[in-house]
Symmetry: C2
Subunit: 316 residues, 2 copies
């Protein structure tokens, strides 16, 4: 099989880190960047990683999808609030038999993207990683880094482990990325939410990093209660998550190097947050399926208020 070409749409923390790993191992990777385009073109991508720093000096970087080649695999690593630009980009750079990887948080995007690129395959790639952009073309990988990969199906049922999953997982593994292949995208997405909902949300409302949330008994109890509700939502939506997983997430975060989730960085920098993907969609899905998720809904409303009223300076 020929070496696949990859496009990375959105060269931020996640896109920059995983794209650089793929490029470093010899894959043909093309990065779409915005603000950092010139810097990456002139200086490359610099990765500070707990697994060893590295520089990718020569990067195929573009500031315009029109100049990019059509690729076998397009990895979407935009902030979901920018996903409106995806259809026109995918039309230009995704090969006829290509695959889309949705490397984003929250619920609902594989379904929407699949509708615009059908019948091409859409995979969700869930990134369990603490990574931040600390400057133009400069990314700090602080902790973890493994991904879960699963395939979207039109009816939301479990796909099993498909050939597309195996192929992409093979490339990721070759690039030194730890991959778990999952037969059921829905379950994988809800499992990721067990972490994202409490820590992304509370990091904003309480202006706190993961260690502060876990240390204080009240915020720790809140995080645990939110995790339970995400579990309720998952169950109601037909994606039961074993209780042990929910329990483990608190301890997993105890062991994490103190981390400021990207939602909090967005808020602190007065950028819009991924409120709908991580909170709105799951709350609506859970309630539609008959689950009661009052705490998730409260956090959703708090974040929506903060996003609408506090993010843009000129607005208030």
């Amino acid at each position: 099989m020929a070496v696949k070409t990859y496009a990375i749409v959105g060269t931020g923390a996640v896109g920059g880190y995983y794209g650089a790993k793929l490029a470093r191992c010899g894959l043909d990777v093309h990065f779409l960047a915005r603000g950092d385009y010139r810097h990456i073109r002139d200086h490359g991508l610099a990765i500070e990683s707990k697994d060893g720093d590295f520089l990718l000096p020569h990067v195929n970087v573009y500031d315009d999808a029109d100049r990019m080649p059509a690729c076998d695999v397009v990895a979407v690593a935009l902030k979901t609030t920018a996903n409106g630009i995806l259809p026109s980009i995918l039309q230009k750079i995704l090969k006829k038999d290509g695959v889309v990887l949705v490397m984003q948080n929250g619920l609902g995007w594989e379904e929407r993207i699949a509708k615009t690129v059908s019948p091409r395959a859409v995979l969700g790639v869930l990134c369990f990683i603490c990574v931040s952009k600390i400057g133009p073309g400069r990314i700090r990988h602080q902790d973890f880094g493994h991904v879960t990969m699963a395939q979207h199906t039109s009816d939301g049922s479990a796909s099993g482990i498909t050939s597309q999953i195996r192929e992409i997982a093979g490339d990721f593994t070759k690039a030194g990325i730890s991959v778990q292949m999952s037969p059921d995208l829905g379950t994988a997405r809800w499992k990721k939410l067990v972490w994202n909902v409490p820590y992304s949300g509370l990091s904003v409302v309480l202006s706190a990093a993961t260690d502060a949330i876990n240390k204080n008994p009240d915020s720790r109890a809140l995080a645990a209660a939110l995790m339970e509700e995400v579990g309720e939502g998952a169950r109601a939506c037909g994606h039961p998550i074993e209780q042990s997983f929910v329990n483990q997430m608190l301890e997993y975060t105890d062991r994490m190097i103190p981390y400021v989730p990207s939602m909090r960085l967005d808020f602190d920098n007065r950028r819009h947050m991924e409120v709908e993907s991580i909170f709105g969609e799951p709350v609506r899905a859970a309630q539609k399926a008959g689950a009661k998720v009052p705490l998730m809904e409260m956090l959703y409303r708090e974040l929506k208020f903060l996003d609408e009223e506090k993010v843009t300076v000129s607005k208030s």
Copy 2:
């Protein structure tokens, strides 16, 4: 009946405003102050009020309860977080047959105070007022101003309208304060919480004044849901509040001149907030009585975190 002597313990916004009204109408009022003592002694109390500004140039003000006369009525207007100093103060300045007025927010203080001053009468005075201290000895009365007065009983049952309530209400009315006499302290306290819980709490977590909370559809829905839960708690505790009252509170706040609750002023100035009185006590009382109050509990935990982790600069 002889003219009663009043002591005001805590000459902040509430104590300063109501005390000045009582003194202006000729009652013998003695103020206990802390930081503002010298300023009030030298310059008096200045009230900027929507009902007309006035200055009380000569004020019986003290910085030490030891120098105060024993009084017929002691009005407690401290922030509840300072209530630890009350027993020794009341022992000094409350006459043998005196009355204590608890002019504070939240639940539980009449009961505790009654234990230390028994068998003397303890009344709750609930202040529906937008008032702030804007400088030493300078108080701005922005909106509303009426009070509800009710009497504590050792078993929490309704006292009816007692002679003590009538006497004190007479003085307040003479001073131009609108008074509602209530036969049931428990119901009166829970009714006040219908407003305090959503607006004090959300003003801190969302960093917003009353108008912003009411205008945004998500925070408005949250406020309404919190009011409903306070109603649930009240009902479970044997103090049913008519649904129309709960509904009216949103509209009452719509008509209010935009107001920053004192809890938010405390937080912004890194002073401890009245988290236990306004949130902890009601949540525990509601849960003990079998009510489910998940949103109140979530707000309580958020505020407790903020109070513990964010209030003192040196702590983090």
